[in-house]
């Protein structure tokens, strides 16, 4: 896995951003930026040459699902892998996210190991598509 991957972590709760960031650090990723909402994340993505997005679902200004839709609707960003963090693996919710083009989902709380498996799966899919 490319450890230089440039990752954006989006969550309105800074403790959660820190938790996700620490887990990513443990997996060897070090180029991690943070955004506190979909609204702040989008302009960062548009300018920032990010290669991966981990976003929370539930955020006040622009929820994760809307951020995902905005990413898929943007010509420059539409291929960006997006991992969605949710509280429960609600069937309806996950189907909605899948239809909107989510690359994977992960249920809180999770371990570094689970996160790694999720990332591997996403990269597998992208690699297979290459």
């Amino acid at each position: 896995m490319n450890k230089n991957l440039k990752i954006l972590v989006v969550d309105d709760f800074s403790t959660m951003r820190r938790i996700v960031k620490n887990l990513l650090n443990e997996l060897g990723f070090n180029d991690i930026s943070e955004a506190d909402d979909g609204k702040t994340a989008l302009p960062m993505l548009q300018q920032g040459s990010f290669e991966f997005v981990v976003t929370d679902w539930n955020m006040p200004g622009m929820p994760g699902i809307d951020l995902l839709k905005a990413i898929r609707a943007d010509d420059k960003l539409k291929h960006l892998p997006v991992l969605m963090v949710t509280a429960e693996a609600q069937r309806e919710q996950i189907i909605e996210a899948a239809k909107a083009g989510v690359s994977g989902y992960i249920v809180k709380p999770f371990t570094g190991q689970t996160l790694k498996e999720k990332l591997d799966k996403i990269f597998e899919r992208y690699a297979a598509a290459a």
Binding site: T15, D36, E51, A87, Q90, I95, Y105, Y126
Partner: protein
């Protein structure tokens, strides 16, 4: 479960604590605006977010109660169910439980699971959608999806991985391993972070404040040196600049420690609501000036006294709705909490439109309690009679109510405010209500003092307690019970000779042996005259704690360094007088 380090735990406590602090008032607002979608959303998200964080900390008890509350708000915000009184009570009980658990976590423990009765109530509330036609089951209990199903779904949506037609994002291809252009590299770390504020450990702030304090003292010394040496004008200019800069630096470091009084005020709507329900009263809370800033330590120190006063106003001040209606008042009482800056002080007003305090009743009570003779009580003027409530051991309720009567009286409130160099003022009109006015300094880090000399040493007397300074007329000194008293403007002023306080070997009447000055100070309701040799003038000092050997020494609050480089002890006036009275 993932192991999470203590830093994250500490972060969680602060951040989730802030969410909960806001949640209390939001829940109370919800009672007024039960359909406000934004409010419902905010409450939902607060429980949701705390739950998410608690999950990573393996705090399962907290996760469970947050989850139950979140489920309820998930249904509420979907419009499938309306808020009602019973649901509100259940929600508030859940909120209280969450707050309790946070306290346990904060003190290093692991909270026990929520009472099963509460969890059951939360579940029942979810099951019983009142007045709703054919409510579908709440989404939270709907079925979940497995990883395999999800993969299959992706295959179905985008085709099997091998068949994905989309070009691969170039950055994910091995090419991306190549170093990025320098320009891009640079941008990486400096990407516009959205946060404009930084959390700082208060210990670091205190250390910084301490250093600035030292700087202020050196500045003071330089200023003194400049005066004595009449040095070159260049030095003069440099010292003036240092003077101005130091003051500004001191100001901005102090500003870092400032927090809005909102931190304390925000708990009151919920507190008052709970009290009102318990007492069967109707009380509205009005808050003004919640954004007024004051020193963090003071915000914390004011919390308990304010809670006590608010409880008092709800319990003793505001009448029952029927009693209010009889006197032509609105059934609901109003409690005003107001904060505003007044120069170097902050003024906090707690005002109710209740029954007011009956001075006659207080007079009778103080006699019944044997705290005062009938004739003494009769001589008190109206204001002095009101202030009996601040007297130790005085409580006007025959039955100690479980609200205000928690073993803490108004005397404790008053002494804790005094300990902050603050004052409490009381106004009350029978039938119209009672107003408490608290004045405390904006910060405790810098203290205006009066510098005095006693037996060749310099002492600093905190200026807030000083009323006046006068020369001692030794012919006006009388002895009462072998204690010196000065007749000053027809009032007997008890004298405390600082020289004898420091050196008890001196004779009783040492203070009459030469030229002396009197610093008149106020301690609670009493006035005392501190006898000093010389009054040097006013100086703003930075308080330094006493070393371990001298810690706890009665009568001294700390030490400071004066402009001429000497160490001066800071007199703790209440403790000095208190100890003096006891010993004499």
């Amino acid at each position: 479960m993932p192991a999470v380090d203590d830093d994250i735990r500490a972060d969680f406590l602060v951040e989730a604590g802030e969410l909960l602090e806001k949640l209390g008032p939001q829940l109370v607002d919800l009672e007024q605006r039960p359909d406000d979608p934004q409010l419902l959303n905010a409450v939902f998200r607060a429980f949701h977010t705390v739950k998410g964080g608690a999950g990573f900390l393996s705090e399962t008890a907290l996760v469970e109660v947050c989850h139950r509350a979140e489920e309820i708000f998930s249904v509420l915000r979907s419009g499938k169910r309306q808020m009602d009184a019973a649901l509100m009570d259940t929600t508030l009980a859940a909120y209280d439980e969450v707050t309790r658990m946070m306290e346990v976590i904060k003190s290093g423990g692991t909270p026990a699971p929520a009472p099963p009765a509460l969890l059951q109530r939360l579940k029942d509330q979810l099951k019983a959608p009142a007045v709703v036609v054919a409510a579908p089951p709440p989404p939270a209990s709907g079925d979940t999806i497995s990883d395999d199903e999800f993969e299959a779904l992706l295959d179905q949506l985008h085709g099997k991985p091998a068949a994905v037609a989309e070009p691969v994002p170039p950055t994910l291809a091995p090419v991306a391993e190549a170093p990025l252009p320098a320009e891009q590299q640079q941008r990486r770390s400096s990407d516009n972070a959205p946060e404009t504020s930084v959390r700082i450990d208060t210990q670091k702030l205190d250390a910084m404040m301490n250093l600035v304090g030292e700087l202020v003292l050196v500045r003071n010394r330089l200023k003194t040196l400049r005066l004595s040496s009449q040095g070159a004008s260049d030095t003069d200019k440099a010292v003036s600049e240092l003077d101005a800069l130091t003051s500004r630096l001191q100001g901005s470091v102090l500003a870092l420690r400032m927090q809005p009084i909102k931190k304390v005020f925000s708990r009151f709507p919920k507190l008052v609501r709970d009290l009102a329900r318990q007492l069967g009263k109707e009380i509205n809370v009005v808050m003004e000036g919640e954004d007024t800033d004051l020193d963090k330590n003071l915000v914390e120190a004011l919390a308990d006294p304010l809670v006590h006063m608010v409880r008092n106003s709800c319990d003793h001040g505001i009448e029952m709705p029927d009693a209010r209606a009889v006197t032509g008042k609105p059934r609901a009482g109003t409690l005003l909490l107001k904060a505003q800056q007044e120069g170097e002080n902050i003024l906090i007003v707690i005002k109710d439109d209740g029954a007011g305090i009956d001075a006659e009743r207080l007079r009778r009570k103080v006699v019944e309690k044997g705290l005062m003779t009938a004739s003494d009580a009769g001589r008190l003027d109206a204001q002095a009679a009101l202030e009996l409530i601040f007297m130790p051991g005085f409580s006007t309720k025959d039955q100690v109510s479980d609200l205000s009567g928690r073993g803490v009286g108004m005397d404790v409130v008053k002494s804790s405010i005094n300990a902050l160099n603050g004052t409490v003022q009381l106004e009350s009109r029978l039938g119209q209500g009672t107003t408490f006015k608290l004045r405390v300094p904006l910060t405790l880090a810098i203290l205006p003092t009066l510098m005095v000399a006693v037996a060749g040493r310099t002492y600093a007397i905190p200026l807030p307690s000083v009323i006046e300074v006068t020369a001692l007329d030794s012919t006006a000194v009388r002895w009462l019970n072998r204690k010196p008293v000065l007749l000053l403007r027809d009032e007997n002023l008890r004298l405390v000779d600082l020289a004898r306080w420091i050196d008890p070997a001196l004779p009783d009447d040492d203070c009459l042996s030469g030229e002396r000055h009197i610093v008149v100070v106020r301690v609670n309701e009493g006035r005392y005259g501190l006898v000093v040799k010389q009054v040097k003038g006013r100086e703003e000092v930075v308080i330094k704690p006493l070393g371990a050997l001298l810690k706890g020494l009665a009568g001294f609050a700390g030490a400071t360094v004066t402009g001429d480089g000497q160490v001066a002890l800071i007199v703790d006036v209440p403790s000095l007088v208190h100890t003096h009275e006891r010993e004499a």
